[in-house]
Symmetry: C2
Subunit: 232 residues, 2 copies
């Protein structure tokens, strides 16, 4: 039988750095609607849940076609961690995998979500995190990490660094529950795989500037401007 | 006496990944004009040179107010390295520091260039590279670099990685020439400092997608859209 994969979108009404970001319009629709539309339109998930402490936000997401998981107040504070509210969620929803989709990733494409789900089904990892790969001369603790000061090589030849973006994360439910109950960290638990997503689908939404950039990128995808050159 | 600082903008007419990118319009002006305007408007440089093998491009940049340094054909091929064409340039232009500004950084702001020049003047480094800092869980060679699989911590608490962006690079001319003549790599030569630039001023221009993103970001800076929210 095919694995049952459930989408879970964590969303609080109060957000600290950008105020009420989940209900703020980004380009044509509220931020919370991006992962909901993506999850529903993809047709890849058995269920699509929004995990929020807010009744009002819960009612809103239901009008968008998602289910409302009411997060208990004790897991809704600023210090609530992923593992606590995830554990509360997976204990109540029977599924083989839960895929966390963050509202802070409005640039994610359906084709990428499809490949991510195919990757989960084709393998048997306990945890799959999404990463972006960078081939750039990188320092860590003030020392060159993937290059040498003795020579300058073409950046295409550099070993990449890979950064977790939290746009898409998948956990095998059984493993997640077991590790949490054993007092171990389930977030990177069991057999762990990285899944590379395109760089232009990852973004930060920590500042107003980040917000405008994401909006600019969304707009730039719609326009197919003519290339114009200087006549020499 | 104040150090003489010269700006040098390397630019070829033929570009491989994005065709003729230097004379292609990005938003309101050709790509080559971004670093030229930035360097001239800042008033920080004794001289502003474009280093190109192309006579036509040389004439164009002169109409924009830059000086034309004709790069000899032997340093204009696909395999010409920074150190070779830089050496040829600094041997011919007397200055204390040369600052390389790349045309692939149209998002760079004047305030950042100002701080960069102040940093050079206030210190005595042989080489200053510009970097962006990332606080993200990062893998290198499949191993966690700045985080532990045993716990999930707030990303604000992570040690950053820093990646070189080549938007702005400064070399002390004397040291650069000496190292090159000794057969050593001058690109990261002598005492080396990193200068952190804001993330939204760095961009790639390797693909058409990158191009549209940079254009979207430039546009997003101009608009000051009203914040709109869903009424709950």
């Amino acid at each position: 039988m095919e694995d049952k994969i459930t989408a879970m979108i964590p969303a609080r009404l109060g957000s600290k750095r950008i105020s009420r970001k989940n209900i703020r319009y980004m380009d044509q629709k509220p931020l919370i609607q991006y992962p909901i539309d993506l999850a529903l339109d993809s047709g890849l998930f058995a269920e699509v849940w929004v995990n929020t402490e807010s009744e009002e936000l819960g009612r809103l997401v239901q009008t968008m076609g998602a289910c409302f998981h009411r997060r208990p107040a004790e897991f809704a504070g600023d210090h609530a961690t992923n593992r606590e509210f995830m554990y509360e969620f997976v204990k109540k929803h029977d599924c083989d995998y839960v895929v966390m989709m963050n509202t802070t990733s409005p640039l994610l494409r359906e084709s990428t979500v499809k490949k991510f789900i195919e990757f989960i089904r084709a393998n048997d990892y306990d945890t799959v995190v999404s990463v972006t790969a960078q081939k750039e001369e990188t320092f860590f603790r003030d020392k060159p990490l993937n290059f040498s000061l003795e020579e300058k090589v073409n950046s295409q030849l550099l070993e990449p660094t890979e950064a977790i973006v939290w746009a898409l994360t998948a956990w095998k439910t059984k493993t997640f529950i077991r590790l949490q109950e054993e007092g171990k960290n389930p977030v990177f638990g069991g057999s762990l795989a990285k899944f590379v997503i395109p760089k232009d689908e990852a973004c930060d939404l920590d500042t107003e500037e980040d917000w405008r950039i994401a909006e600019g990128i969304l707009e730039s995808r719609k326009t197919n401007r003519e290339k114009r050159y200087v006549q020499l």
